[in-house]
Symmetry: C2
DNA sequence: GACATATAGTTAGTTATGCAACTAATATAA
DNA sequence: TTATATTAGTTGCATAACTAACTATATGTC
Protein backbone atom coordinates (compact mmCIF):
# COMPACT_ATOMS: atom_id res chain seq x y z
CA UNK A 1 0.00 0.00 0.00
CA UNK A 2 2.76 2.41 0.93
CA UNK A 3 6.52 2.08 0.72
CA UNK A 4 7.01 2.96 4.39
CA UNK A 5 7.19 -0.52 5.82
CA UNK A 6 9.05 -0.56 9.08
CA UNK A 7 11.23 -3.20 10.43
CA UNK A 8 9.81 -4.23 13.76
CA UNK A 9 12.63 -2.76 15.78
CA UNK A 10 12.28 0.64 14.17
CA UNK A 11 8.64 1.15 14.94
CA UNK A 12 8.75 1.85 18.60
CA UNK A 13 11.34 4.58 18.68
CA UNK A 14 9.48 6.62 16.11
CA UNK A 15 6.15 6.42 17.84
CA UNK A 16 7.41 6.76 21.35
CA UNK A 17 8.46 10.37 21.35
CA UNK A 18 11.27 9.81 23.78
CA UNK A 19 13.10 12.91 22.60
CA UNK A 20 10.05 15.09 23.14
CA UNK A 21 9.61 13.62 26.59
CA UNK A 22 13.25 14.22 27.43
CA UNK A 23 13.01 17.85 26.32
CA UNK A 24 9.87 18.33 28.38
CA UNK A 25 11.48 16.82 31.47
CA UNK A 26 14.56 18.96 31.10
CA UNK A 27 12.52 22.13 30.68
CA UNK A 28 10.48 21.22 33.77
CA UNK A 29 13.70 20.63 35.68
CA UNK A 30 15.09 23.97 34.54
CA UNK A 31 11.90 25.68 35.69
CA UNK A 32 12.13 23.97 39.07
CA UNK A 33 15.78 24.82 39.54
CA UNK A 34 14.93 28.46 38.87
CA UNK A 35 12.27 28.32 41.57
CA UNK A 36 9.34 28.45 39.14
CA UNK A 37 6.29 26.50 40.28
CA UNK A 38 4.58 26.15 36.92
CA UNK A 39 4.29 23.00 34.82
CA UNK A 40 5.28 23.00 31.18
CA UNK A 41 1.64 22.48 30.27
CA UNK A 42 0.70 25.63 32.15
CA UNK A 43 3.62 27.38 30.52
CA UNK A 44 2.37 26.35 27.07
CA UNK A 45 -0.87 28.22 27.77
CA UNK A 46 0.92 31.29 29.14
CA UNK A 47 3.21 31.20 26.11
CA UNK A 48 0.25 31.73 23.77
CA UNK A 49 -1.29 34.39 25.99
CA UNK A 50 1.97 36.34 25.97
CA UNK A 51 1.74 36.33 22.21
CA UNK A 52 -1.96 37.29 22.27
CA UNK A 53 -3.82 37.99 25.49
CA UNK A 54 -7.55 37.43 25.93
CA UNK A 55 -8.01 34.29 23.84
CA UNK A 56 -11.04 32.06 24.35
CA UNK A 57 -10.56 28.68 25.96
CA UNK A 58 -11.37 26.95 22.70
CA UNK A 59 -8.81 28.98 20.80
CA UNK A 60 -6.20 28.25 23.46
CA UNK A 61 -7.04 24.58 23.11
CA UNK A 62 -6.53 24.76 19.35
CA UNK A 63 -3.21 26.51 19.65
CA UNK A 64 -1.89 24.13 22.30
CA UNK A 65 -3.35 20.98 20.69
CA UNK A 66 -5.64 20.12 23.58
CA UNK A 67 -9.30 19.23 23.78
CA UNK A 68 -11.63 21.52 25.65
CA UNK A 69 -11.88 19.39 28.78
CA UNK A 70 -8.11 19.43 29.24
CA UNK A 71 -8.05 23.15 28.57
CA UNK A 72 -10.72 23.76 31.21
CA UNK A 73 -8.69 22.05 33.92
CA UNK A 74 -5.42 23.61 32.92
CA UNK A 75 -7.03 27.04 33.20
CA UNK A 76 -8.61 26.02 36.52
CA UNK A 77 -5.12 25.39 37.84
CA UNK A 78 -3.70 28.57 36.32
CA UNK A 79 -6.54 30.51 37.93
CA UNK A 80 -5.84 28.85 41.29
CA UNK A 81 -2.28 30.14 41.03
CA UNK A 82 -3.66 33.55 40.07
CA UNK A 83 -1.77 33.59 36.78
CA UNK A 84 -4.85 34.09 34.59
CA UNK A 85 -8.47 35.19 34.99
CA UNK A 86 -11.54 34.18 33.04
CA UNK A 87 -13.77 36.99 31.82
CA UNK A 88 -17.01 36.15 30.03
CA UNK A 89 -17.26 37.72 26.59
CA UNK A 90 -19.78 40.51 26.33
CA UNK A 91 -20.75 39.47 22.81
CA UNK A 92 -21.33 35.80 23.60
CA UNK A 93 -21.69 34.72 27.15
CA UNK A 94 -20.79 31.12 26.35
CA UNK A 95 -17.24 32.26 25.72
CA UNK A 96 -14.63 32.72 28.43
CA UNK A 97 -11.81 35.04 27.46
CA UNK A 98 -8.61 34.24 29.33
CA UNK A 99 -6.40 37.12 30.46
CA UNK A 100 -2.98 37.18 32.07
CA UNK A 101 -2.72 38.68 35.54
CA UNK A 102 0.03 41.00 36.70
CA UNK A 103 1.51 37.99 38.50
CA UNK A 104 2.02 36.18 35.19
CA UNK A 105 3.60 39.01 33.25
CA UNK A 106 7.09 38.94 34.83
CA UNK A 107 7.36 35.22 34.10
CA UNK A 108 7.57 35.80 30.37
CA UNK A 109 11.19 36.87 30.20
CA UNK A 110 12.64 34.27 32.54
CA UNK A 111 10.69 31.32 31.12
CA UNK A 112 11.70 32.36 27.64
CA UNK A 113 15.33 32.33 28.68
CA UNK A 114 14.94 28.94 30.33
CA UNK A 115 13.20 27.51 27.26
CA UNK A 116 15.97 28.85 25.11
CA UNK A 117 18.57 27.37 27.43
CA UNK A 118 16.77 24.03 27.30
CA UNK A 119 16.71 24.03 23.52
CA UNK A 120 20.41 24.83 23.44
CA UNK A 121 21.07 21.86 25.69
CA UNK A 122 18.88 19.65 23.54
CA UNK A 123 20.24 20.75 20.18
CA UNK A 124 23.95 20.69 20.88
CA UNK A 125 25.89 19.64 17.79
CA UNK A 126 22.79 19.53 15.63
CA UNK A 127 22.92 21.72 12.55
CA UNK A 128 20.38 24.30 11.44
CA UNK A 129 19.77 22.24 8.33
CA UNK A 130 18.96 19.12 10.32
CA UNK A 131 16.63 21.09 12.56
CA UNK A 132 14.85 22.41 9.50
CA UNK A 133 14.34 18.89 8.15
CA UNK A 134 12.96 17.71 11.49
CA UNK A 135 10.56 20.63 11.85
CA UNK A 136 9.39 20.20 8.27
CA UNK A 137 8.85 16.46 8.59
CA UNK A 138 7.04 16.72 11.93
CA UNK A 139 4.73 19.35 10.51
CA UNK A 140 3.93 17.10 7.55
CA UNK A 141 3.31 14.14 9.89
CA UNK A 142 0.90 16.31 11.83
CA UNK A 143 -0.84 17.41 8.64
CA UNK A 144 -1.06 13.84 7.37
CA UNK A 145 -2.93 12.80 10.50
CA UNK A 146 -5.18 15.80 10.99
CA UNK A 147 -6.24 16.85 7.51
CA UNK A 148 -7.93 13.50 6.94
CA UNK A 149 -10.27 14.18 9.84
CA UNK A 150 -11.82 17.01 7.86
CA UNK A 151 -13.03 14.85 4.99
CA UNK B 1 27.16 29.91 24.25
CA UNK B 2 25.61 27.98 21.41
CA UNK B 3 24.56 28.97 17.94
CA UNK B 4 21.07 27.50 18.29
CA UNK B 5 19.18 30.64 19.19
CA UNK B 6 15.51 30.32 18.34
CA UNK B 7 13.17 32.97 17.20
CA UNK B 8 10.36 33.10 19.72
CA UNK B 9 7.73 31.73 17.36
CA UNK B 10 9.80 28.67 16.57
CA UNK B 11 10.31 27.51 20.10
CA UNK B 12 6.94 26.18 20.94
CA UNK B 13 6.40 23.89 18.00
CA UNK B 14 9.68 22.12 18.62
CA UNK B 15 9.07 21.54 22.29
CA UNK B 16 5.42 20.75 22.04
CA UNK B 17 5.64 17.39 20.33
CA UNK B 18 2.41 17.86 18.43
CA UNK B 19 3.42 15.32 15.80
CA UNK B 20 4.15 12.68 18.41
CA UNK B 21 0.83 13.41 20.08
CA UNK B 22 -0.99 13.15 16.78
CA UNK B 23 0.62 9.79 16.02
CA UNK B 24 -0.28 8.51 19.48
CA UNK B 25 -3.88 9.64 19.13
CA UNK B 26 -4.21 8.05 15.73
CA UNK B 27 -2.76 4.76 16.93
CA UNK B 28 -5.12 4.77 19.90
CA UNK B 29 -8.02 5.44 17.54
CA UNK B 30 -6.95 2.61 15.26
CA UNK B 31 -6.77 0.29 18.28
CA UNK B 32 -10.24 1.34 19.38
CA UNK B 33 -11.73 0.93 15.91
CA UNK B 34 -10.34 -2.60 15.83
CA UNK B 35 -12.05 -3.36 19.14
CA UNK B 36 -8.82 -3.43 21.16
CA UNK B 37 -9.18 -2.20 24.72
CA UNK B 38 -5.52 -1.48 25.42
CA UNK B 39 -3.91 1.94 25.69
CA UNK B 40 -0.82 2.77 23.70
CA UNK B 41 1.15 2.94 26.93
CA UNK B 42 0.10 -0.61 27.75
CA UNK B 43 0.94 -1.61 24.20
CA UNK B 44 4.41 -0.12 24.56
CA UNK B 45 5.06 -2.53 27.43
CA UNK B 46 3.63 -5.52 25.58
CA UNK B 47 5.73 -4.53 22.56
CA UNK B 48 8.92 -5.01 24.53
CA UNK B 49 7.71 -8.24 26.12
CA UNK B 50 6.95 -9.69 22.69
CA UNK B 51 10.54 -8.97 21.79
CA UNK B 52 11.80 -10.44 25.07
CA UNK B 53 9.50 -12.00 27.62
CA UNK B 54 10.20 -12.07 31.34
CA UNK B 55 11.90 -8.70 31.78
CA UNK B 56 12.11 -7.07 35.19
CA UNK B 57 9.98 -4.01 35.88
CA UNK B 58 13.06 -1.85 36.01
CA UNK B 59 14.28 -3.09 32.66
CA UNK B 60 10.85 -2.50 31.15
CA UNK B 61 10.95 1.02 32.55
CA UNK B 62 14.33 1.62 30.94
CA UNK B 63 13.21 0.33 27.57
CA UNK B 64 9.98 2.34 27.57
CA UNK B 65 11.53 5.50 29.08
CA UNK B 66 9.44 5.48 32.23
CA UNK B 67 10.31 5.82 35.89
CA UNK B 68 9.67 2.87 38.14
CA UNK B 69 6.52 4.28 39.71
CA UNK B 70 4.85 4.69 36.31
CA UNK B 71 6.00 1.21 35.36
CA UNK B 72 4.51 -0.27 38.51
CA UNK B 73 1.08 1.18 37.77
CA UNK B 74 1.12 0.32 34.11
CA UNK B 75 1.85 -3.28 35.02
CA UNK B 76 -0.87 -3.15 37.69
CA UNK B 77 -3.35 -2.30 34.93
CA UNK B 78 -1.96 -4.90 32.53
CA UNK B 79 -2.27 -7.48 35.29
CA UNK B 80 -5.88 -6.42 35.96
CA UNK B 81 -6.61 -7.12 32.28
CA UNK B 82 -4.79 -10.43 32.64
CA UNK B 83 -2.33 -9.59 29.89
CA UNK B 84 0.77 -10.09 32.04
CA UNK B 85 1.74 -11.75 35.32
CA UNK B 86 4.43 -10.83 37.83
CA UNK B 87 6.65 -13.65 39.00
CA UNK B 88 9.28 -12.98 41.65
CA UNK B 89 12.79 -13.86 40.56
CA UNK B 90 14.24 -16.90 42.29
CA UNK B 91 17.71 -15.36 42.35
CA UNK B 92 16.68 -12.03 43.83
CA UNK B 93 13.35 -11.71 45.46
CA UNK B 94 13.28 -7.93 45.09
CA UNK B 95 12.86 -8.41 41.34
CA UNK B 96 9.52 -9.00 39.63
CA UNK B 97 9.82 -10.67 36.26
CA UNK B 98 6.95 -9.79 33.98
CA UNK B 99 5.56 -12.47 31.69
CA UNK B 100 2.96 -12.35 28.94
CA UNK B 101 -0.17 -14.43 29.45
CA UNK B 102 -1.84 -16.52 26.76
CA UNK B 103 -4.41 -13.73 26.47
CA UNK B 104 -1.72 -11.27 25.39
CA UNK B 105 -0.04 -13.42 22.79
CA UNK B 106 -2.64 -13.16 19.99
CA UNK B 107 -2.54 -9.36 20.25
CA UNK B 108 0.95 -9.21 18.85
CA UNK B 109 0.11 -9.69 15.20
CA UNK B 110 -2.89 -7.38 15.02
CA UNK B 111 -1.34 -4.55 16.99
CA UNK B 112 1.76 -4.76 14.86
CA UNK B 113 -0.37 -4.42 11.76
CA UNK B 114 -2.25 -1.46 13.25
CA UNK B 115 0.98 0.23 14.28
CA UNK B 116 2.30 -0.28 10.79
CA UNK B 117 -0.87 1.11 9.29
CA UNK B 118 -0.64 4.12 11.59
CA UNK B 119 2.95 4.79 10.59
CA UNK B 120 1.98 4.55 6.94
CA UNK B 121 -0.74 7.11 7.51
CA UNK B 122 1.65 9.37 9.39
CA UNK B 123 4.54 9.10 6.95
CA UNK B 124 2.74 9.55 3.66
CA UNK B 125 4.91 11.42 1.19
CA UNK B 126 7.88 11.49 3.52
CA UNK B 127 11.03 9.97 2.12
CA UNK B 128 13.21 7.32 3.72
CA UNK B 129 16.06 9.81 3.80
CA UNK B 130 14.01 12.37 5.71
CA UNK B 131 12.89 9.71 8.17
CA UNK B 132 16.50 8.75 8.73
CA UNK B 133 17.44 12.35 9.49
CA UNK B 134 14.56 12.69 11.95
CA UNK B 135 15.37 9.45 13.76
CA UNK B 136 19.02 10.35 13.94
CA UNK B 137 18.38 13.88 15.23
CA UNK B 138 15.84 12.76 17.83
CA UNK B 139 18.26 10.16 19.11
CA UNK B 140 20.97 12.79 19.44
CA UNK B 141 18.55 15.13 21.24
CA UNK B 142 17.78 12.33 23.65
CA UNK B 143 21.46 11.61 24.18
CA UNK B 144 22.22 15.29 24.72
CA UNK B 145 19.70 15.46 27.54
CA UNK B 146 20.38 12.16 29.23
CA UNK B 147 24.13 11.62 29.03
CA UNK B 148 24.73 14.76 31.09
CA UNK B 149 22.85 13.25 33.99
CA UNK B 150 25.61 10.66 34.33
CA UNK B 151 28.39 13.13 35.06
C1' DG C 1 -42.14 33.20 18.99
C1' DA C 2 -41.19 28.17 19.54
C1' DC C 3 -38.56 24.17 18.65
C1' DA C 4 -34.44 21.97 17.01
C1' DT C 5 -29.61 22.32 16.43
C1' DA C 6 -25.02 23.89 17.25
C1' DT C 7 -21.42 25.82 20.21
C1' DA C 8 -18.47 26.91 24.58
C1' DG C 9 -17.46 25.28 28.58
C1' DT C 10 -17.85 22.00 32.79
C1' DT C 11 -17.92 17.60 35.16
C1' DA C 12 -17.34 12.53 35.97
C1' DG C 13 -14.66 8.57 35.31
C1' DT C 14 -10.43 6.20 33.91
C1' DT C 15 -5.54 6.07 32.74
C1' DA C 16 -1.05 7.92 32.91
C1' DT C 17 2.88 10.90 34.49
C1' DG C 18 6.50 12.61 37.90
C1' DC C 19 8.46 13.25 42.54
C1' DA C 20 9.22 11.86 47.13
C1' DA C 21 8.82 8.91 50.87
C1' DC C 22 8.42 4.32 52.04
C1' DT C 23 9.26 -1.24 52.54
C1' DA C 24 11.71 -5.31 51.75
C1' DA C 25 15.62 -7.71 50.12
C1' DT C 26 20.43 -7.77 49.00
C1' DA C 27 25.22 -6.25 49.09
C1' DT C 28 29.14 -4.02 51.44
C1' DA C 29 32.15 -2.81 55.19
C1' DA C 30 33.54 -2.61 60.03
C1' DT D 1 28.23 -10.66 62.14
C1' DT D 2 26.24 -6.68 62.75
C1' DA D 3 25.52 -2.03 60.95
C1' DT D 4 25.10 0.67 56.76
C1' DA D 5 24.12 1.47 52.12
C1' DT D 6 22.05 0.21 47.83
C1' DT D 7 18.47 -1.65 44.89
C1' DA D 8 13.60 -3.08 43.18
C1' DG D 9 9.32 -2.15 43.73
C1' DT D 10 5.09 0.23 45.93
C1' DT D 11 2.28 3.99 47.59
C1' DG D 12 0.68 8.90 48.32
C1' DC D 13 0.03 13.17 46.28
C1' DA D 14 -0.59 16.37 42.50
C1' DT D 15 -1.12 17.41 37.50
C1' DA D 16 -2.66 16.17 33.10
C1' DA D 17 -4.77 13.46 29.22
C1' DC D 18 -9.13 11.63 26.67
C1' DT D 19 -14.10 10.26 26.19
C1' DA D 20 -18.71 10.93 27.09
C1' DA D 21 -22.42 13.09 29.18
C1' DC D 22 -24.00 17.32 30.80
C1' DT D 23 -25.47 22.76 31.18
C1' DA D 24 -26.10 27.14 29.30
C1' DT D 25 -26.17 30.25 25.62
C1' DA D 26 -26.87 31.32 20.69
C1' DT D 27 -28.53 30.50 16.09
C1' DG D 28 -31.70 29.02 12.45
C1' DT D 29 -36.09 27.57 10.62
C1' DC D 30 -40.81 27.10 10.35
Amino acid sequence: MSNNQFKRGELYSVINGMATTAVARRLQKNFRNAGLEITIEQWSVLYHLWKEDGLSQLELGNRTFRDKASTTRLIDNLEKQELVTRIASKDDRRINLVYLTDTAKPLQQITYELANKTMNEALQNISKEEIEVVKNVLQRVYDNLTSKDLI
